[in-house]
Symmetry: C2
Subunit: 413 residues, 2 copies
Amino acid sequence: MTDYALLAKDMKADSFKMASLSEETRNDALAAIASALEAHSEEIFAANMTDLENGKDLPAPILGRLKFDQHKMDDCVTGIFDLIKLPDPLFKKQLDRQLDEGLELVRVTCPIGVIGVFFESRPDALVQISALCIKSGNCAILKGGSEAKESNKKLFEVIYNAGIEAGLPEGFCALVESHEGVDALLSCHDSIDLVIPRGSNAFVQHIMANTKIPVMGHADGICTIYVDKDADLEKAARIIADAKTQYVSACNAAEVILVHEDIDKEALAGAVVAKGKEAAGVDITVNMDGEYKEYLDYIMTMRSIAGVDEAISLINRNGSHHTDAIITENDETAERFMDNVDSAGVYRNCSTRFADGFRYGFGAEVGISTSKLHARGPVGLEGLVTYKYKLYGDGHIVADYASGKRSFNFKDL
Amino acid sequence: MTDYALLAKDMKADSFKMASLSEETRNDALAAIASALEAHSEEIFAANMTDLENGKDLPAPILGRLKFDQHKMDDCVTGIFDLIKLPDPLFKKQLDRQLDEGLELVRVTCPIGVIGVFFESRPDALVQISALCIKSGNCAILKGGSEAKESNKKLFEVIYNAGIEAGLPEGFCALVESHEGVDALLSCHDSIDLVIPRGSNAFVQHIMANTKIPVMGHADGICTIYVDKDADLEKAARIIADAKTQYVSACNAAEVILVHEDIDKEALAGAVVAKGKEAAGVDITVNMDGEYKEYLDYIMTMRSIAGVDEAISLINRNGSHHTDAIITENDETAERFMDNVDSAGVYRNCSTRFADGFRYGFGAEVGISTSKLHARGPVGLEGLVTYKYKLYGDGHIVADYASGKRSFNFKDL
């Protein structure tokens, strides 16, 4: 039986080896991994076929996510080469300050350390996340869904071997296969610095409720669009239909529409339904109960409200602090909304579906965080690094400053 | 009986009012609070006298921290005026990017929201922390030690009334007096965004173990100094003595000295003891058991090791990731240590006691964080803010980009 606590402890203790690799070594390893994935594609597809056969009774959307074919392989390889081109997030000087003569303080970015990644069904998530961790100098403990067991095993083997061959340190990542591993790892708050869950709401909520390790992600995404009295209603219908239909099960799909009381709610609902049909060929159902919940279906709700202040209050109290939008042509009302809504993303006159790392131009995304600490909104490489303070002296002691014998002379260099 | 969950929920829902105040309003409120503290100093000293009388059997160091006299008042008022002078941490544009024509993404700093601050004995901590929260636009729930009950009540009353008068929103901060309040508040992870504990290790550990809210701070501080074979031994003795004696019960005081095996450990210990006597007039006891623990006394331990790699490994496995130093004249060895030790502060040839917000030139400090997420090391105003993404469009929908009808044109503005 694997001792998961020991695995995590050893990885943590050795994580400094990964942290000090040069940009060149990390990028070379990524390139080697991309080549190895292509070279072993037949084995990978065969392993995936086994998973697909074992899971043939699973629902079609899960089978779609489980499939790892040439198309997914091409996406993974392209993704790795895009990642190689991104600027190095490590060793960046964020501060360089002389505290006194001969005493220099430098703040530099460094990896977080050990990241536990728990994901469901999609084997391409394993590739993407390992690559992000390598680029950012982090060690990763990966746990995939049991339905993708054979695919994950093969992908991990190829990635791990290619990484080691290219100079990454032993144990730079590990794959956990048994389900008991999850709970064991969630209790390793001394060794695992961060947990990233990717999967259904229930899955993310389970993880958030069962660990003291900081979790980067979000459980629900109850996104609201407020249609102000000064809205362009054609724009509103178009945006709402997109926010609901463009990808109905996404966390940034809109669920609740707050409508200014001066606007004919029924007419707006009709326009939204028509746009949904026209743009996406689907029938949107619009309830008028105004209930705050995540529908994850072609269903949304509308509620009539008094104005922007009520919208702000409702969203802050009932929303999930993910992404919320206002539709208005009034600059003042828009700013009031954008300044006061307490969400990772606040939008004016555009679809909530833009909440995404690629669409923000981050190049790669680990997920979307609704936490307000560390990283908020779509999280790219920047969210996978922290910093440390380095202080260089020449025999400097604090007693000299406390006694007044010497005094600080702060100067940013 | 106070309903603490409701108190926190209401504060959270209303926290946007605090978040949108202008820099001028926040600074004016701070100035008004400083004046009010001075104007009510007699009442404050009288309340403090009651606490001192009620606590007359408490140990002398606690009574020292409990005392709030003219000297502490002057420090508090000076601290507030220093804080007013610091640049505004809010509304800073961290990113301004055109995603496509007419679609602009802006990332701006904003407050974290509701901060729960739990502190022991020192009433001046209440003043300092309220002021930091006001400057950074955060709402604060304050819980002080029962021994400072009367002082805290009076200080809070003066601060709250002056703040409201100067235009801060109702409920911008609250004082919790009963001890049951603590546990009730620690379970409010939906309403309280961050907990900052300030007090003994046991106190901080209790809080960390009993909440799902992110905690900013540190429990223990087991700081290590490694004396390399290329060390200047006079410098080493001087730095070690300072790191132990300059303030013996501080979290950044050194506890463990790792000594390269080529160095005469007994001679070094003798030199450290002599320096401690000469510089601080105290007798340092040096054990040779090498046990990793926080002594918080004029006791330290020495252990003979093989070299810098063993030092890195011992510190990463047994230290508390707070602040660790190397004494060496060898640049290469120093860089190896500074790059690979996984601590918030890594120092060369200077005392670990420099780990402090004021000494880093931050002007004000909330505490020192050993967490790697969000804020690490001494935490100033920057650690009390987060950011949000604002996206401005003109009817932009995602379907147009997904279908290829439009494509992103990223341009940093």
